[in-house]
Symmetry: D2
Subunit: 266 residues, 4 copies
């Protein structure tokens, strides 16, 4: 399934301001980028590095005045998002090394506080995928999804108190619940086709059976058309931008996701 | 300067219990390990991997019954811990890529909440090393160091409310304050010669000038004899052990650090 | 300085054939890619990984029949290729860890065989950059550059016997000579603006002073407009494609490099 | 199965001489080090880094005069070296990313020259493990194993011409033959219990089925008691030491491997 994605950001910059950005879709076994564009206006020097999670990060210093960034791509993703009811829990000793850090608590996922709650939510479910699906259902039915309701990330503890949140917040709670049961879980930031209202999106993945699976409590059913920009422990790792120094004024922010034909046959 | 270190852990295990351990001193440009021992009793299969911070981590499943671990080493560290009053703040755009993740908030270091407080503490100080030294002084004079007072890590916000804590807690607050000023800061776990009472220790490092420098608000002056076991964003990354499943009973825990002669000339 | 680059490859495939490709310009501190396109016709699944040198590699299985690949980009590179006469030799003990593997002999750079020859070529020159410049001059004046003259990579020993070669071959000899003097040297594959005749190009870099510098014995003077696709120890690491199984027939192969305006201001 | 290993090196050094050493057994899923010692006499500063293959490498500058190094360890390895007749060939497109570089030709394994020969040697054998076993048999029966016969590594082409060689040389030819058939193969350096005459040893591994398997044409049957110090593409990557500058005089070199009891139960 092919999509075109774009993210347009515009800022009013007061003083030279360092940015770290994460705007380029990932390229992995499940996702291929056939075309990509990354424009800066005005043009400034920019450097790229790959962070510890394999995300592509860009570094630049925005000059005073209006500054805009456009990141667009043509991306192929699987036609259907994989599901795997019954996929078993993986005992910690059998997990791959590189998955282990996704068992630990992190800034917005205080998994050390959720064992009892997670046990209750998943009581009676098969260990593994079905536990995560029970957590996702519980989130969907319990935590009100209010897109646009918060400006800063809320941690799992805060979301659980408030009983509502944006996509990022629901993911934090889902991740904390999974990790408290020794199921590795990670935050994903990216695009979702047909998201209402359209914006950058966040969901989570859990490692059961022998791979990562997609979960998203903000949608009433499993949608297709997820395009991954970044993976991390929580929102602190996958901000689409971090800005340092005086806060900047973000004047515009436009996200688009459209289906397109396989570009090779177009 | 040469030291022998040892850490003895004993557990009563009820059911087979997966552990991740971090007990081996690091080997880097500043620290060399001439002899090392790592005993498990009873002996069980154990595997080692290197985590994303370069720490040596061991994985094993402890069998039911008494289980003990002994990790001992002979380590060379610099004769004097480096200090650098006046070392300048490094603007974010000039930091090495691999340092950037230590600017972000993490589980126990909610640096997104401390900018105003950090600005007040460091007012009037030169940007860079002197700001961190001012933070260290402020911690030393403000937050009561109570070794053994808490069992679980406390976050910077909690430590600041409570105004007291163990070494790990003071470090969390120090790190959060540094990061809020865009100074990279990381947690260090390891040994400190002559620590009173002797135990595993935690302190923090800040990146200013062109390297990491050691800070420790639990000591009244800069001590020498720090031996590094692990680096991380905060205590969540550098637990000397993580245990999964039913909680285990830790029955004994003995730490020793002694000076020794250069073993090659002994 | 901005360029558009493109590489078009066409193959006649007999049986399903695995490929590893290296066709995407690198993104680093010195080089930025503002637009990129990577088309496969027919479209097949493709996965990307980053190799041990940080190069972007693509994996796919080409289906029987005509198969074509187009990789195009808009790339910014420094206006002027840096030179540094007098930049000093770095004693091995002071080299960064990640540079050390470029001191060792490799498939096509038998540096263990060239110490005497390299000493003679560089006699009387300052240690460091000037030695490498002397090697480059010697290659330029001694080894005949015959673009298109060889199909398979030749090793430094072979090139030295034959006294002629393509860009890749001259680089192998240059690299072997540098390494024999304990100067780290690496192969670069990429594009060069105004190369005659136009094709993919290969040159080499040597590490002196505190960074890598560009050398190219195929050009009579230091040109600008080098666009890097891959780094490696020698041609074995940076083939633009490796193909496994029955040899395939490569029917077309077109390379283009054009100057373009800064795309952000266009 | 537990072993104590030791390697003692002594040198007469004329001028300060940089060394890179690889003397510490690896720690991985299959091999655990319970005790280790690494002595330098006289004692000099030493730093450790992990190379691109995960090997532990030490860097130091040896001072003029006699200089000795002792690296000893207590190591647990599997009781029986795994064999897997019938384990299938893995098509290139299904190989894990990190294995791919072991398909390429390297300094001493000119696999690009051996396809025809490898096809003949393995004719009639099942693709995969059985091909590698056929190559191992062919080496054993064809290339004379002459321990101590060569000082410098010989490449696969040279070994094939000479029809004899040391352990390292036989491995080079075995690796080149495997790679020419698109079977990943890597060099291993380490210890072998009961090796006659005792010395550091080299063998090779091939990736078939879903893992690496051990092969060693120098022994008449599959021995147990292999202790791994380093992995690499060939001998250029896994020298137990690389020395830079004026050649040094290696005066003594003693290797020991003994069986020992499980140290935890001793």
């Amino acid at each position: 399934m092919w999509f075109t994605t774009s993210c347009d950001l515009s800022f009013d910059i007061i003083e030279p301001t360092p940015f770290m950005l994460m705007l380029r879709p990932r390229r992995g076994p499940q996702q291929w980028v056939a075309r990509e564009e990354y424009r800066l206006l005005p043009s400034v020097p920019v450097a790229e590095f790959t962070d510890g999670y394999g995300n592509y990060c860009q570094r630049l210093v925005a000059p005073p005045g209006p500054f805009s960034i456009r990141a667009a791509a043509e991306v192929m993703v699987p036609d259907v998002v994989a599901i795997a009811p019954g996929a078993p829990f993986v005992p910690v000793q059998n997990l791959p090394d590189q998955v282990l850090s996704f068992l630990l608590p992190s800034r917005y996922c205080e998994s050390d506080r959720f064992f009892t709650m997670a046990s209750e939510i998943t009581a009676g479910h098969l260990l593994g995928y079905d536990q995560v699906a029970a957590i996702e259902d519980w989130l969907r039915n319990t935590i009100r999804y209010l897109p646009g309701s918060s400006e800063y990330p809320e941690s799992a503890v805060e979301v659980n108190q408030r009983q509502s949140g944006v996509c990022r917040d629901l993911s934090h709670l889902g991740i904390a619940l999974c990790r408290s049961l020794s199921i590795p879980a990670r935050m994903v930031v990216g695009y979702l086709y047909n998201l209402q209202p359209m914006d950058m999106h966040a969901w989570f993945e859990a490692y059961v059976g022998d791979r990562w699976y997609t979960f998203d409590a903000t949608q009433s059913k499993r949608e297709d058309g997820y395009i991954v920009v970044g993976y991390g422990r929580d929102a602190a790792d996958v901000a689409i931008f971090n800005q340092f120094g005086l806060p900047v004024n973000q004047s515009v922010h436009t996200i688009r996701v459209e289906r397109c034909d396989n570009p090779s046959t177009a």
